[in-house]
Amino acid sequence: MSTPEQLPISLRTAALESILVERNLVDPKVMDSYIKMYESDIGPLNGAKVVARAWVDAEYRRRLLADGTAAVAELGFKGPQTEHISVLENTPTVHHVVVCTLCSCYPWAVLGLPPSWYKDPAYRSRVVREPRAVLHEFGLDLGDDVEIRVADSVSECRYLVLPQRPPGTDGLTEEQLTTLVTRDAMVGTARVAAPGSVI
């Protein structure tokens, strides 16, 4: 099974692209459009808009928790890796955290492509086994009165965590709230901090 010399993966990538482009099997312009879509257009700002809307609009929140796919699509967010989306509501006593132990499944349409730690074998193997210890490493210490629920999203259902709205934000607009919501809070490895607070 051993190979005499390992070629750098960057070189293998260039080699495969060169073969497929030369044979007109892939179009570099199509590749560029995919890259641009996930680098510039689709990212965690989408999910933040969903969360902020749910914080200010009780009726939207109800719809979001009842049918995440439809409520997220109301804001225009749908696409690959987000055929079915289920929203997990964090409360003062229940904290959800999401993982995919098999291959890093992630709700692309609302969060974009996953961050490096989400794809890291350390996160994938440990958060299903010792979530409290892993969250501590993220700087999130949950009290003993908070129940932890881990969702291992290995089928085609994707999960978005609805974080708790932080205290002291009653006067903020939906737009201002959107800027507070972080990607990690929507995966469940963080809480949303109140504006001006230091985590």
Binding site: A15, S18, L102, E130, S153
Partner: protein, 212 residues
Amino acid sequence: MQGFGPVAAPPTDEPVFAEEWQRRAFALALLSMRVSGTNLDAFRHAVDRVRPLDYLADGYYGRWLRGAENLLVDSAIIAPRAVDARARNLRGGQVDEPATPAPHRPDYRPSAPGSLRSLDTAPRFAPGDAVRARDLHPTGHTRLPRYTRGRAGTVRRVLPAAVFPDTHAHFRGENTQHVYTVEFHSHELWGADAEDFLLSVDLYDEYLEPLA
């Protein structure tokens, strides 16, 4: 697999792609499914088959690239040594590249886009039902995480029916099944000394049996 140590501290402004080749590998992997005439489950299985050392060493987009290579070799779009040879030539080597094989894409056509399907039969389980994840050890693709096999849990939700990855990945039919969110207690999975928490996994009907 365990023993990876602490989770690396996430940088605050991590770019979507840290390096240029990752951009290209991402796009090539997405396109490899169409070019090879396969599907997402086959791609996941192609990633499953990346050599374990490469899987760990090359990172996420590295395994995607190697998964794409596997798919393209499977469908005989490229020869097994084609990428190696081209890579050596790109850096100035003088290596004979293997001849382009005659493609043999799988006899596969999806019945609809995506993975979700409707199913006429009623779900076998309902929320509250006690179930056990079967102790299966398939040699092909599966979405039954090893740590749940043989463990008892409770059905919490019935999810939309979906094509069955274990057969779909191998072009042996969509085999649409009901999917259930099954909740396990941490002590059932990891023993009495484990942290106290609940874990849910979305499992296909065939992975489950009623708890007698």
